[in-house]
């Protein structure tokens, strides 16, 4: 398994604890790791170089914040820089004053244009618009048929042209007429995939652009694209003046560094991401998430998603607050455990946690024992309400009673109480100390139902 970047940096900076300032010397190792991480995420070589320089400048001489280790601080700076480049705000789509507006979808072969066209149409409907589709992909076998099938599936009109018509210019002309006839306010044009060096086909796009005067030309790019992303994006932009980017196949495990490259070379905003094959697996681009993912912290997001699926949000917020207010009782602990178990194998979840690098080694490497979880729940169940709210009440006699009631030993009860107390201590550190930095902020946003979840770790 790959060591996460934050783990690596933690290692790099182990020796630097106590150093007050970030200096070129103590940052070098960290920047080297970050460089590798960015390159492995497929960010273009030159873009990485620029970024590292920017980070160096920004970080140099900064005081290391009390709450952060130098490693965390560098990650924080890089993350901020990435978010800045990727765009602080979500880019909006532009529409014409006089309908219909035209949106052209362009890109390389196999990048996901047709699927994205259908997804965007569906998304536009949700925004109250009335799109109509047209495919001018006269080259790939059954490409027009593909869009027609999708249109039927999502119940959005499509202009398929007069029988036998296979000239792009005629197809879009027909779509325009049909749009005004049927009162559709947005025409989505799916174009054939092409190579940026295919002069003939690029000329075809020039022509379509001139004919359609689109308000948006969206460059559809595969998140798995490597270093070549800069070339294709640059060429498409130079030729056509793209107005935005759709990053597809983000439901996979590609780190998506191409986003950064494309954004850098075109200056155009990322607008949407594709997250699956279904027509509604499509959302506006989030710079923050993309930045985390590029840095190899993307699994945090999948954790959040998993958690939010399984967890009652209100409940989770309440817990969060309790944690912050230091009112987290054993009863809450038990409820958390029950929810956590709904999430599946604990070890997997723990691996996803960003803070794991800071955990004591025993905790990080501890095998999570599901039986132990059951035991903990049983022990807490055997306590009285008062004991759960105030574990200080738990004297020897009470502990013995609880052990008998839960079919465990006094040793088990002792362990649990110790763990609970350690967890609260850790939590205080996380929400207070560390929370000053990125991790804390993210955790607050995440509305985690559990602190950093090390229930059931024992031994």
């Amino acid at each position: 398994m790959f060591e996460s970047l934050s783990d690596k940096l933690q290692r790099v900076f182990k020796n630097l604890r106590g150093e007050g300032k970030l200096t070129p010397e103590n940052m070098e190792a960290a920047l080297k790791e970050i460089r590798i991480a960015l390159l492995e995420a497929d960010v273009h070589f030159r873009v990485v170089k620029q970024l590292i320089e920017a980070v160096k400048l920004k970080a140099m001489g900064q005081e290391v914040m009390q709450a952060l280790s130098p490693g965390q601080q560098v990650v924080k700076i890089v993350h901020e820089e990435l978010v800045k480049i990727l765009g602080q705000h979500q880019a909006k789509l532009r529409f014409a004053n006089e309908p219909p507006s035209v949106i052209m979808m362009v890109g390389l072969q196999g990048s996901g244009k047709t699927t994205s066209t259908a997804k965007l149409a569906k998304w536009l409907v949700k925004q109250g618009r009335t799109p109509i589709l047209v495919s001018v992909d006269i080259y790939r076998p059954a490409a027009r048929e593909q869009l027609a099938v999708l249109a039927r599936e999502i119940k959005i009109p499509i202009w398929i042209g007069e029988p036998g018509e296979n000239r792009p210019s005629e197809l879009v002309k027909g779509a325009k007429i049909e749009a005004s006839r049927a009162g559709r306010d947005t025409i989505l044009v799916d174009t054939a995939g092409r190579l940026h060096i295919d002069e003939e086909l690029m000329v075809e796009l020039d022509g379509l652009k001139a004919q359609l005067n689109p308000t948006e030309i969206l460059f559809v790019a595969d998140a798995m694209t490597g270093q070549d992303a800069v070339k294709s994006a640059e060429q498409f932009h130079q030729r056509l003046g793209i107005t935005g980017v759709v990053l597809t196949k983000m439901d996979g495990d590609a780190r998506g560094g191409a986003a950064l490259s494309i954004r850098t070379v075109t200056g155009q905003p990322l607008k949407f991401v594709g997250l699956g094959e279904k027509p509604d697996a499509f959302e506006p681009f989030h710079p923050d998430r993309a930045a985390q993912r590029i840095l190899g912290m993307g699994d945090v997001m999948s954790l959040i998603e998993k958690v939010s699926e399984a967890v009652d949000q209100k409940q989770a917020e309440k817990m969060q607050q309790k944690l912050l207010d230091d009112e987290f009782t054993l009863e809450d602990f038990r409820d958390q455990l029950k929810q956590i178990r709904k999430l599946g194998p604990l070890e997997n979840l723990l691996k996803m946690m960003p803070g794991m690098a800071n955990m004591p080694k025993e905790m990080k490497n501890a095998k999570v024992d599901e039986k132990e979880l059951t035991r903990i729940v049983a022990i807490i169940d055997s306590m009285t309400q008062g004991e759960r709210n105030n574990p200080l009440l738990l004297n020897g006699g009470r502990r013995k009673r609880i052990a008998v009631g839960s079919g465990t030993t006094v040793q088990d009860v002792n362990n649990l109480v110790k763990q609970y107390q350690e967890m609260r201590k850790m939590m205080k550190k996380l929400t207070g100390g560390l929370a000053g930095g990125m991790l804390g902020k993210r955790m607050a946003k995440m509305k985690l139902p559990f602190p950093t979840s090390f229930p059931g770790f024992g031994r």
Binding site: G112, R140, L150, L195, I197
Partner: protein, 305 residues
């Protein structure tokens, strides 16, 4: 017909133009080996998607030899890198598995949009030209109009396509196709599968099931499982290859879209780590735009003038 080597050379002209010219540019006029030179080499290889780890290891090797004064000048660095790449790619070469009895079953897998269906169209043409009878199996029952797309390729090649309705069980189509192939004594069956991301466990399980289905009809099938990979793929390619190999026993790679500016350097890492041979390269959308991959010739043409 032009010689194989010529075709290969023409096909990968772009690849050449990228990787090799970059290295050659770098080396041109340089006598002294300094760290700038190594930096430029690193740039060339990394921007060809070879991957930072692989590149670092290659360059480390070079650096050591430079330190030990085993390399006199820049030309030798070039030779060293070339030899290294040939070694890595050649080590994966292995003979094509012959079936105990026909048909030979070829399963085509890969992520969405990699070029699977197009590759099948081209591969069928090659096999037919080679005198083999071919049957296509439309087991992408998921993507809209995928079956129609394969049928167009069937028509172009004048070969039959076994199909069912969109949405039907892909394994059932595989079963039908193999039965038909046996009955008709066809030489090769090529199975088109729906594109899927290697991270989707349920979809990977579906592929496994298709693989098992082939075995049920023909015990030593599938004889070949080709992972089709887009030449523009970056470092994620390694994970793709790893996961598809785990669940479907990939036996080789087809690298597509090398007619663009992408280099497909990630196959070097794949060869090193997974020992998977690259069988073919795709160099365009026309029916004859598929070329056999040969490590020696590939790297040789990369470095030829």
């Amino acid at each position: 017909m032009s010689s194989l080597l010529d075709r290969l050379k023409a096909g990968i002209a772009k690849t050449r133009a990228g990787l090799v010219d970059k290295i050659e540019d770098t080396l041109k006029g340089r006598k002294e080996i300094d760290s700038d030179l190594l930096d430029e080499l690193e740039y060339a290889l990394i921007t060809a998607d070879v991957g930072v780890r692989t590149v670092t290891e290659i360059l480390e090797d070079v650096r050591q030899r430079v330190d030990r004064k085993l390399i006199g000048d820049a030309t030798e660095i070039k030779a060293l890198i070339r030899r290294h790449l040939v070694d890595v790619l050649e080590a994966t070469e292995r003979p094509i598995v012959k079936p105990a009895a026909p048909p030979r079953v070829v399963l085509i897998v890969g992520v969405n949009g990699a070029g699977k269906t197009t590759t099948i169209g081209k591969l069928a043409a090659r096999l037919k030209a080679d005198g083999q009878s071919v049957l296509l199996c439309a087991a992408d029952t998921f993507r809209a109009a995928a079956i129609e797309q394969l049928e167009v390729w069937g028509q172009r090649n004048q070969i039959d396509v076994i199909r069912q309705q969109q949405g039907s069980d892909p394994s059932a189509v595989v079963f039908d196709a193999l039965q038909a192939a046996k009955a008709r004594a066809v030489d090769v069956v090529i199975v088109d599968t729906a594109g899927r991301l290697h991270t989707k466990e349920n979809l990977m399980a579906e592929l496994e099931k298709m693989r098992r289905t082939t075995q049920r009809v023909i015990p030593d099938a599938p004889h070949e499982v080709l992972l089709v990979m887009d030449g523009t793929t970056g470092q994620n390619g390694l994970e793709q290859a790893r996961k598809f190999t785990e669940s479907t026993g990939v036996t080789g790679i087809v690298l597509t879209k090398l007619d663009g500016t992408a280099k497909g350097g990630v196959v070097v890492a794949i060869a090193r780590e997974l020992n998977l041979p690259i069988r073919y390269i795709g160099v365009g959308e026309q029916i004859d735009d598929l070329l056999p991959f040969d490590a020696e010739k590939f790297v040789a043409s990369l470095f030829e003038n």
